[in-house]
């Protein structure tokens, strides 16, 4: 699952543009990931200029 760090997003839309499945909703000052659509490809995490996005995969791995 892609996570958004609270209060850090600049709402620039770079992640929206690279998302292959259109799973990111972005308004003027509001971002949300549509988890049902998201395929966890992580490209949004890569391109974010300020590293606001992360994945909980690692966390899960540790928990497993």
């Amino acid at each position: 699952m892609i996570l958004v760090k609270d209060n850090r997003c600049d709402f620039c839309g770079t992640c929206v543009a690279v998302c292959p499945v259109d799973a990111i909703e972005l308004r003027e000052a509001d971002i949300s990931i549509i988890h049902e659509t998201c395929i966890d490809c992580d490209v949004c995490i890569w391109v974010c200029p300020i590293d606001v996005l992360s994945s909980d995969k690692e966390v899960e791995a540790i928990n497993d």
């Binding site: 929206v16 259109d22 995490i45």
Partner: protein, 390 residues
């Protein structure tokens, strides 16, 4: 009857030019802008050429932060190459400029609705017939004969129409820019730092903004940006090079440096500017291509309405005229950007040292290319091919 003739999604330069072109010919036109403000936040280095702007209008003094007549390029080891530019450029106040363009459209009758977040299209019989949007928490919809998507890098309107606008990460520059004050730089010069050392797969820029201010930013190619943080890189650069500068504004953003979409029209829809991936893939500049494509889209909307055919076929003049106006050049530039991608920092340094030996007044493009030819004959070939189409 539709609510409007033309709905333009996005109030940047592409959208305002499209709205102006349509409304000035009598079309009932509205611009829907998702933010509360036209022209803000400014996600742009703001540089533009005088010749580019003058295709459409005379630049107004209040738009211009700095007038440029010199270009400086720096290799990875900071070898400085100064180039006299025979073309004037500007660093704009995009905030004022975008406002002026939207105001210009409104003067000929275009309406502007800010805070309008388009979240769907009205599609009937495979034809786009309007948009759904949210305004202050309220769901609204508007019908139109044609929708012009000028919604920038995100390009979601095209996706809603079933077009593949999603961009590959190696075609995206992940960028960050600080507008700084208290900086002593030549206010007539733009300064580029090229190579992996400064900005992997992109470049770093220092653009003067008047009154001892500057836009200092960089773009890292998306495929490499996993290991880099543009924000940290800019702050490190400022610390090392301009420690006296103070950050007044900072923004991040994505610059699509892809090939233009193969399909920029659909039934009842045209894609313009960044949304159509028309950004210059070498420079990352998108203002002029946005304005030009927007203007053409607005004109074609009028003609197509006159003929009563706003289908893909009815809008066929749009891609045709765009190709002539900027599309062909874009293809050439994209081929160049692909071929220069693989130059290493060592090669750039060695090339810069060769160019450094050519006296500044004698640095013609030909001489630089000759130096390049010794260095990387394949690139010269690629560039020539890109321009001649061979």
């Amino acid at each position: 009857m539709t609510d409007y003739d033309v709905i333009v999604v996005g109030g940047g330069p592409a959208g305002s030019m499209a709205a102006h072109a349509a409304a000035s010919q009598g079309a009932k036109t509205i611009i829907l802008e998702k933010d509360r403000d036209i022209g803000y936040p400014v996600r742009c280095g703001e540089a533009v050429s005088d010749a580019g702007l003058k295709q459409f209008m005379e630049p107004e003094p209040e738009w211009i932060a700095a007038t440029i007549n010199k270009i400086r390029m720096r290799s990875p080891n900071n070898t400085i190459i100064d180039l006299q530019s025979n073309a004037t450029g500007y660093v704009l106040h995009r905030r004022i400029f975008d406002y002026a363009l939207a105001n210009r459209a409104s003067q000929v009758g275009a309406e502007v609705q800010t805070r309008a977040y388009v979240d769907g299209l009205i599609v009937e019989d495979d034809m786009v017939r309007g948009v759904k949007y949210q305004y202050m928490g309220e769901n609204r919809s508007l019908t139109a004969k044609v929708v012009i998507a000028a919604d920038g890098v995100e390009s979601r309107v095209g996706r809603m129409a079933g077009m593949r606008t999603s961009i590959k990460i190696h075609d995206m520059e992940s960028a960050y820019q600080a507008t700084v004050g208290n900086i002593d730089i030549d206010q007539e010069m733009i300064d580029f730092y090229v190579g992996e050392n400064w900005a992997p797969g992109g470049y770093l820029w220092v653009f003067p903004k008047g009154n001892r201010m500057a836009n200092i930013g960089l773009g890292v190619v998306g495929s490499k940006s996993k290991d880099y943080n543009s924000h940290d890189m800019i702050h490190n650069f400022l610390r090392d090079h301009y420690p006296e500068a103070t950050v007044l504004t900072s923004v991040c953003g994505g610059v699509p440096v892809a090939q233009t979409l193969k399909k920029i029209t659909g039934n009842g829809i045209m894609l313009t500017g960044d949304a159509a991936r028309m950004v210059n893939p070498v420079s990352g500049g998108g203002i002029i291509s946005g304005m030009h494509s927007g203007k053409i889209a607005g004109e074609v909307a009028i003609e197509a309405m006159g003929k009563g055919d706003l289908s893909f076929n009815g809008l066929a003049q749009y891609p045709k005229r765009w190709r002539k106006a900027g599309g062909k050049t874009h293809e050439a530039l994209h081929r160049i950007s692909e071929s220069i991608k693989n130059i290493t920092d060592a090669e750039l340094n060695s090339l810069a040292q060769k160019i450094e030996k050519i006296p500044e007044s004698d640095r013609s493009l030909l001489k630089i290319f000759t130096a390049l030819a010794y260095q990387k004959p394949k690139i010269l070939l690629d560039v020539t091919r890109a321009y001649t189409g061979l």
